[in-house]
């Protein structure tokens, strides 16, 4: 229905709404056989009243309502290189660069150069890995915060936290963004580690371990035969975690030493 301008103005807050007219009911009004009584109506969600709207909604979702589609060309730009020190990835589309930047360079730990998918995980990492005060406090109280946003539980050890993540939040046992900090050096391959290492190995992590140190354009070391690779994987500390910072050069040598 069309809206008189007066109504619009009134409901949008214009002053001077009139006093309501006096209400004066005659009891004869609701006597049989007449039965009208004003009442607000509530429809439960499955009511037929909403059928038309629901159908329109689903047509919309299925994109039938709007015959749209067909986009202009993806904007291509002259090739450019990522400007972050040590990264020489090349791009010809801005959106690709945006994702690359956010994935690898945005939430990077300045201590160990690991990259994280969110500021939240980065903060947690810095706290738990690089904050000595944290370590001291952790000896006396529950400091390991649950990783799920909104959950305020804290735990004594990262192992307890992991168990909570699995049992309470149904997280996978090998959730990548929750690696316990271990002392440097070769890791004793336990059964769990073996599975983990294999999982990492399946990703080609050994090569990505090196990719951490060099820009990703470099050719990764040639794939090693399966048996050897497994041995190699065992030597990667289980502290390897998602993403790696992109710093190059002499760190590679350091990393190699760690592996021996």
């Amino acid at each position: 229905m069309q809206l008189p301008p007066a109504l619009h103005a009134r409901l949008a807050g214009a002053p001077g709404s009139a006093e309501p007219l006096p209400v004066e009911r005659d009891p004869a009004a609701r006597t049989a056989p007449f039965r009208f009584a004003p009442r607000p109506v509530r429809f439960p969600r499955e009511h037929d009243f909403f059928e038309e709207g629901d159908v329109q909604r689903h047509l919309y979702l299925q994109d039938v309502l709007m015959q749209v589609g067909g986009a202009p060309e993806r904007p291509r730009v002259p090739e450019f290189t990522c400007q972050v020190a040590g990264c020489c990835q090349v791009f010809d589309a801005l959106e690709d660069y945006e994702h690359h930047y956010h994935t690898l360079h945005r939430n990077v730990c300045s201590f160990c150069k690991r990259a994280f998918p969110s500021g939240h995980l980065l903060d947690t990492h810095i706290l738990e890995w690089h904050d000595s005060l944290f370590q001291i406090l952790a000896e006396r109280q529950d400091m390991y915060q649950c990783l799920v946003e909104g959950c305020t539980e804290k735990f004594r050890t990262s192992r307890d936290r992991k168990e909570h993540l699995v049992m309470r939040h149904l997280y996978p046992a090998d959730f990548r963004f929750d690696k316990p900090r271990k002392s440097r050096g070769p890791v004793m391959p336990g059964a769990a580690e073996q599975v983990l290492a294999e999982a990492l190995g399946d990703d080609g992590v050994p090569s990505e371990g090196d990719a951490m140190e060099v820009c990703s354009e470099h050719v990764e070391p040639p794939p090693v035969p399966a048996g050897e690779r497994r041995a190699y994987s065992h030597r990667i500390p289980s502290t390897i975690c998602f993403g790696q910072g992109a710093s190059r050069g002499f760190k590679r040598a350091k990393k190699r030493n760690k592996h021996q």
Partner: protein, 452 residues
Amino acid sequence: MWSRQRGRLKPLCCGVEELRCRRREREAALRKARREQQLVSKRLLRDEALEEAEEGCVAMIFGEAEIQQFLQLAQRGTEEKEREGALVSLRRGLQRPETQQTFIRLEGSIRTLVGLLTSNQALLQLEAARCLHELSHSEQSAVVEACLPATSYLLTYLSGHSSDFIELCLYTLGNLIVESEAVRRQLLPQGIVPALAACIQSPHLTVLEALGYALSQLLQAKEAPEKIIPSVLGSTLPQHMLQLLQPGPKLNLGVAVEFAWCLHYIICSQVNNALLITQGALSTLGLLLLDLAGAVQRTEDAGLELFLLQKQPSLLPEGLWLLNNLTANSPSFCTSLLSLDLIEPLLHLLSVSNVVSVLVLTVLCNVAEKGPAYCQRLWPGPLLSSLLDTLAFSDTEVVGQSLELLQLLFLYQPGAAQAFLQQSGLQALQRHEEVAQLQDRVHALQQTALHG
């Protein structure tokens, strides 16, 4: 990365008539599905530009061996472009349900895909996410539920910053959510509500629209009133939603549509509407409605609004329902209706449909039953002749409501009965004398009209 699909015209590849026919079929299927409580629709996000580039390559059905090859190449290829290309090929294949089936049955395939999703190669990540998205869109539960191992990561990425990637994760999650209760039983403890609450603060409209979609799927679930809506209401989501529905230059229609549906599902579940009211839901929505109506008015000639609304039959019942609830117990709303001259436009709607007519008459009854002061303002005018018209309807509900209104007018407005007689009201009543639900009231009115 993603070309926005909406808002761009595609050359039609089939005739208009065929489109109409297809649309009618879809509508019928949706109505049937709704009746069976099986209304499941998913959103597929595909990069149109990519599709056009790949034109001519029909998605092939891949067998186990080929899928395995693609996966190995993606994981262990030496050239990054090669690895990416393998995933692109896989993704195209996954557009076919047969390939999807083969994929999920292949041991370790999902695990590998999840590994690629969480790898440190940004573009591999993205392609892996696109593969998952294809799977999430499947109509087969088994395929969709095979994506479950990825959900904790999809949720984690919602706190990231890459807007295209987040958008993709959200649409994937939305598709997964609507599929089955099993999926939702996993997503809720994994913290989907807080994740969405954090994500809704994104400044990116595409992210917001995707979030609205995912949330609307969550709220539409059967178990939502008990298991989901309370925690949504307890989060910061409602206030952000209302903010995104504020009328004004910043209002984005695509975003607003999604969150309007979210609010609808919440409100009609009757969990805690009082809370929404304290957060300003009524004024926000009221002003938004006005704004939208005003936009309709501005863009069309005066006489055409009604025509437009008649083309959108679904709007009228809902608008009138709103009017009913506003006027039922509120003298001031009834007074406003009168003083703002809305009665006549209402009367114009009486010929639209039976449902609409009943609603209009109900609203008028809400006004009339408040007494003589109100009926006086309904009189004289077109009301009587409109009522005489509705008495000619055959629908008993319409006629019944007309009779109720007549009774109120006869009671509170001197001269109404007289005028009714003079305009051949008795004849109009006669045709309903034998109708079971109406006869008592018809006779009572006849008596009143004749004897006062």
